[in-house]
Amino acid sequence: MAMESLDTLKIVSDSLSNVSQQAGNSDSHTWIWIIVVSVIAILLIVIILVHRRWKTKPVDKLDILKQQAKADGKVDFDNVIASGFLAKKLYDTLKVECHPDKFPLDDEKNAIATDIFQRIKQNEHNVGELNKLKEEAISKLNINL
């Protein structure tokens, strides 16, 4: 009688463990499907949003300014950096040599010197423009720099 009861207990415990294993497997499959579906949904949302973003034109003021800044082209960094060190010396030389008071008798040269001097003052920190003005002054005012 005791042996029979032990066998029955063993059979019940075996069947219970089988049932619990099956339940665990079905749970893990469900979770995998949930994850796959949610990943697909997120990807779809991202694709839709990116597509809409490309379609829409910028209406923001900042976006327009950024586009204008890009349309202007790249900044000439070489000129900016050279200007920081070289423009002062060139400016000091040009403002002395091209001053209109140096051409008091020649009206034509005086007018040219006045124009060049004004542009020199405007481009005080721009070594590229100052170099161009230097060439112009040499050719038009016949001065040695």
Binding site: L62, L65, Q68, A69, V75, I81, G84, L86, A87, H125
Partner: protein, 130 residues
């Protein structure tokens, strides 16, 4: 469309960040080349700093709104020299506009030796309406 707005903001933040780093890299590359070629006596190095809160404008970044330039000269530069380097940058209107739209509001120039430097508010040099 709050979700779309949020997504647009995230995209524009990354794009702006990329543009800022590109500008700093371009500046540093040009400065390095000019110094190596011997055109300029000192090497300039640009970096992003915290900036000055008094110089804020409507496009300013919440943090990191300073465009800092370090002059690697090996000796203390005079105030005039530092001022001249800053003014050379500020006189380039295109560069100033790019700095402003990319979220910078402060330009800082200092030397690698000593603890002296100058700073400017970029909004004062925009020449708006000219």
């Amino acid at each position: 469309m709050p979700l779309a707005n949020l997504w647009n903001r995230i995209l524009s933040w990354f794009r702006e960040r990329n543009d800022r780093l590109q500008l700093v890299n371009d500046f540093n590359m040009a400065a390095r080349q000019a110094w190596v070629a011997g055109y300029v006596p000192s090497c300039l190095k640009a970096s992003i700093s915290h900036g000055c809160s008094d110089y804020r404008h409507s496009f300013s970044r919440w943090m990191a709104s300073g465009f800092r330039i370090c002059v690697l000269s090996g000796a203390q530069l005079s105030k005039q020299d530092i001022k001249y380097i800053g003014e050379a940058i500020l006189s380039n209107e295109q560069l100033v506009r790019q700095l402003v739209v990319l979220g910078w509001d402060t330009l800082e120039v200092h030397c690698d030796v000593g603890n002296y430097g100058c700073r400017w508010a970029l909004k004062d040099h925009l020449m708006l309406g000219c």
